[in-house]
């Protein structure tokens, strides 16, 4: 259509102004792409670290355990639950856990701790707890009353590898449980705040210590792909079909972390909104200048028999052409930047602790929405902003327009 030709060529009439307007739109597109790419990349990373470090993607408890943990709220027959889980799609692995608060004594020192019983081979397949051991080794596969403790706890209790810690807790049968455990490993600082009170021991040692029999408090499930979490929660619920069990995604289990993350993401959207408004004002300014400069020309086109709607189209098309050009360049730059960030990342000089997880690298991810959303935002903003000036151009009265030179 001849209108597209006119619109397109008009972009190159005021090269500097078009370049500036294009830079705003393209730059905005680039910025949004990197922004969204980093949100997707960094939060994806963060979620991954968070879930694979300890939480898992899905947790199963006895009803009410999450609200008010108690050693009495147990799952019977974790093995049979595990078999049902293993038969489902998207599952990577699962691990049973036993928890209890306990008092720890070493020499003259004493402190409160959270004893966690884990199944070493299963835990290893499910989370990265094993790799957190800095000194010494991980708990052996056979129950030998061994513990792995955090660096912070080791300092509080003044124990080191080979040292012994006595624990006192309340057993499931109401008795006072006490036992002596040997420190075989110490986890590093990278565990953050949790590190100061966590002790890992063999699940069977802890079950015996608490007289729990074969019962556990928690089953953590890890999936091949985090994005399937909500769907798999439903699958597990259906497979277990037990109203006394609670199957919850990590978003519920770690709701505080999840809410903090959501608030952060919302903040990012506000930033995008502010930038969009700035771009809209810039584009509007350019279109109004075009309208002012070319009033006479639009008058002539109308006098020649161009319909009002065609004049309207001319303005919208000119904006659209410039927007598309800018978006192509901005998106290409955005993809490149996201790719660079996804490969090299930015390492923080000071690691940031976020919801108990320490992370020190900013990365991006090239996602579909990091390409499509910025383009859509910029394009629709440009078109929206051009509509009113375009209506004004369509209403130009040729006689008046041609009198004013």
């Amino acid at each position: 259509m001849v209108l597209i030709k006119i619109a397109f060529r008009n972009i190159f009439r005021h090269k500097k102004r078009s370049a500036l307007t294009g830079l705003m739109m393209g730059g905005g597109c680039f910025l949004f792409a990197v922004f969204i790419g980093m949100v997707d990349g960094t939060y994806g990373n963060l979620i991954d670290m968070f879930t694979r470090d300890h939480t898992g993607h899905i947790q199963i408890h006895k009803k009410g355990y999450l609200d008010k943990p108690s050693i009495y709220k147990t799952l019977n027959g974790p093995g049979s639950i595990g078999i049902k889980i293993d038969s489902l799609a998207h599952i990577q692995s699962w691990a049973p856990r036993v928890y209890t608060p306990a008092l720890a004594f070493a020499g003259k020192k004493t402190t409160g701790v959270k004893l966690t019983g884990i199944d070493p081979p299963k835990e290893e397949r499910t989370t990265r707890i094993r790799h957190k051991v800095d000194r010494g080794r991980f708990i052996s596969a056979t129950p030998l009353n061994e513990v792995v403790i955090g660096d912070g706890l080791a300092r509080v209790l003044k124990v080191d590898l080979g040292g012994e810690i006595a624990f006192i807790a309340q057993g499931a049968d109401g008795s006072i449980a006490n036992g002596l455990f040997t420190v075989v490993g110490i986890t590093g600082k990278s565990e953050g705040a949790i590190g100061s009170s966590t002790c890992y021991t063999h699940i069977n040692s802890l079950q015996e210590f608490l007289s729990l029999g074969g019962r556990v408090h928690e089953i953590a499930v890890v999936l091949m792909d985090e994005s399937k979490t909500i769907r798999v929660v439903d699958l597990i619920k259906k497979a277990l079909d037990d109203p006394l069990l609670e199957v919850e995604p990590w978003q519920v289990v770690e709701s505080q972390f999840y809410r903090a993350m959501q608030a952060d993401i919302k903040g990012n959207w506000y930033t995008i909104m502010v930038f969009t408004i700035i771009i809209a004002v810039g584009v509007l300014n350019t279109i109004l200048m075009i309208l002012l400069e070319r009033t006479r020309e639009f008058g002539v086109l109308k006098a020649l028999g161009t319909r009002p709607f065609q004049i309207f189209l001319l303005i919208v098309l000119e904006t659209a052409c410039l927007a598309v050009l800018s978006i192509i360049i901005g998106t290409a730059a955005g993809i490149f930047a996201n790719w660079m960030l996804s490969v090299y990342g930015i390492t923080y000089s000071i690691p940031i602790e976020y919801g108990g997880v320490v992370f020190d690298r900013l990365t991006a991810k090239i996602t579909l929405r990091s390409l499509v959303l910025p383009a859509l935002i910029i394009f629709s903003t440009a078109i929206l902003v051009s509509i009113l000036p375009a209506i004004r151009a369509a209403r130009i009265i040729p006689v008046k327009a041609m009198r004013s030179t």
Binding site: V2, E297, L301
Partner: protein, 230 residues
Amino acid sequence: MHEDVLKVQDVSRIYSTDGLKVNALRSVSLSIKGSEFTAIAGPSGSGKTTLLNIMSGLDTPTSGSVMLGGKPINTMKGSELSDFRRDHIGFIFQSYNLIPVLSVKENIEYIMLLQGIGEGERRTRVASILKQVGIEGMEDRLPRQLSGGQQQRVAVARAMVSNPDIILADEPTANLDSATGASLLDMMRELNEARGMTFVFSTHDTMIMDRARRLVILKDGKVAKDEVRK
């Protein structure tokens, strides 16, 4: 021998600005027949531009009617008026007013493109009109690469190429030197004779008036004289 192409009947135009009323046209009646070559002359402020604008539907009369090809254009609006102008009226402006981003050829094609005329037909028409207005070989230039006289020739070509019923030109030679203006007029007259195209143009210039075959003289918004020459 020819029918009336354009009929202006009892047209008045009153401009009111800041409470001040100007009677630009007072009860003007005028008929233009097919194949006429008419000049509208008169002193500055006599209403020439106002009359041409009303004839073309760019302006509406305060009272009276304008019929083009039997249709009243003073009551048309919006797209209907746009389409009617596009299909029936050719325009030549004092300051050329070519579309600056389109080449000579594309400028001439513009109205045909709006009309949706096919490429083959467009090409033959453009080729023949280029020859007739004497700007062959310049079809790929942009307007700013042409002299004023050449630009006005392109404007004549643009007005003619869609075969309108009438071509209206408000002081087409005012921006040209007298020799260039005279040769433009000669060319227009040739086109009038060769193709029977109806022209109405306004002018101040006696040399230009002399080239008209009918001369209408306006004075204070009224027709003071209307004579057919040789």
